[in-house]
């Protein structure tokens, strides 16, 4: 054995950094497409904009096999509990991108049927503006999410997701105790949060 120089073959880092590096470069998107943003999303995935370059190549249409929820379009009040359930079913760790103004804030639809922003019912990491946003905008949004993943700690993400599970448990408890539908329970929680001066139920 000659002299073994470890300097060339070993690199020290933090666990957070190396795990987050892997996570940010292998996002598995779930396209929850409800409106025209989903059409822009198709363009984003296709060859001209080629979203695969950012490591998010494997689209999955099952929440069980994906970890980045892309909410592409208008979410109605009736759909709010469905969105919560889909987010709950996704593999951990998971992130949410609200694509377009409808998902971010209700957008132009200040109406009786539209949820005024999905962040009332699920935690959102990145908001992408536009109506609909161009594919470049959506790619930039996901690049911002990648930066965010680089910065966060593993525990912070875990606790972030657990807070949502707690709110889901509160919703299910309410459904059981009062015999409500999921829609009624979510509606009551949003209204109570609004009466308390907030907007979010998670």
């Amino acid at each position: 054995m000659g002299n073994l120089n470890l300097d060339d073959s070993v690199m020290t880092t933090r666990l957070d950094s190396v795990v987050n590096w892997a996570r940010k470069n292998s996002l598995w998107p779930l396209p929850f497409g409800t409106a025209c943003c989903a059409i822009e999303f198709m363009s984003m995935m296709a060859s001209r904009y080629d979203f695969s370059r950012f490591g998010a190549e494997a689209l999955r249409f099952s929440p069980r096999q994906s970890d980045m929820l892309l909410v592409l379009g208008t979410i109605t009040n009736k759909q709010a509990p469905v969105l919560r359930q889909i987010y709950a079913q996704m593999a951990e760790p998971k992130w949410v991108v609200a694509v377009g103004v409808c998902a971010s804030s209700g957008g132009m639809y200040r109406t009786y049927a539209t949820l005024q922003g999905i962040d009332r019912v699920v935690p959102v990491d990145v908001y992408v503006p536009g109506c609909p946003p161009r594919p470049e905008t959506m790619i930039y949004g996901v690049m911002e999410l990648q930066k965010k993943i680089t910065r966060e700690t593993l525990m912070a993400r875990k606790e972030h997701i657990e807070r949502f599970y707690e709110s889901l448990a509160r919703q299910e408890e309410r459904q059981r105790a009062q015999g409500l539908s999921s829609h009624q329970a979510v509606r009551e929680m949003v209204l109570e949060a609004g009466a308390a001066g907030g907007q979010q139920i998670w």
């Binding site: 009040n77 109406t111 009786y112 049927a113 949820l115 539908s181 509606r187 949003v190 209204l191 609004g194």
Partner: protein, 165 residues
């Protein structure tokens, strides 16, 4: 023409008529509607394309229920309007046209017009305990609160109709 034949066969059923760019519209009294539908079915108008309604708030009777029929042989189209007072029930066409099922439920949901003889007249689009009927002209556009939970009753304050007072 068809409207003349309806008139000859069922005198008094057609209250009004007009044609626009080749599409005929007849206004029919609600109590004669099923006879007219039977007649035009025999004439070949065997596809019910859509059922919808118009809220003409100030007019009496308040609503027009609008039916669009297509003649599959001649490709002619016919629009039938039924003037309908608030609370009055239109006759259901489900027994004759399967497509009337969801279309009538949608009109019931959004305008609150009941259909007599419909097998399952429940809301189609809005949730079950939704208050009011959102396509009525006096329904506040934003429903009043984020989840439309208030019982806003049959008529609403005029200022509630605008989102930016």
């Amino acid at each position: 023409m068809l409207t003349e034949r309806i008139d000859a066969q069922l005198p008094g059923a057609v209250l009004d008529r007009h044609a626009f760019r080749g599409d005929e519209t007849v206004v029919v009294a609600a109590d004669r509607f099923l006879e007219v539908v039977d007649f035009i079915f025999a004439e070949g108008f065997q596809l019910l394309v859509d059922v919808t309604a118009v809220d003409l708030e100030a007019r009496e009777p308040r609503f027009d229920v609008v039916y669009h029929f297509l003649n599959l042989v001649s490709q002619a189209r016919l629009r039938i309007k039924l003037p309908m007072a608030e609370g009055a029930a239109a006759p259901s066409l489900v027994s004759r046209f399967k497509s009337a099922d969801w279309a009538e439920r949608e009109v019931y949901d959004l305008f609150g017009i009941p259909f007599a003889g419909h097998p399952c007249l429940t809301r189609l689009l809005m949730w079950e305990d939704f208050p009011g009927h959102p396509l009525r002209k006096d329904f506040p556009l934003d429903g009043g609160d984020p989840f439309c939970s208030q019982d806003i009753g049959a008529s609403y304050a005029p200022e509630a109709r605008t989102l930016n007072p």
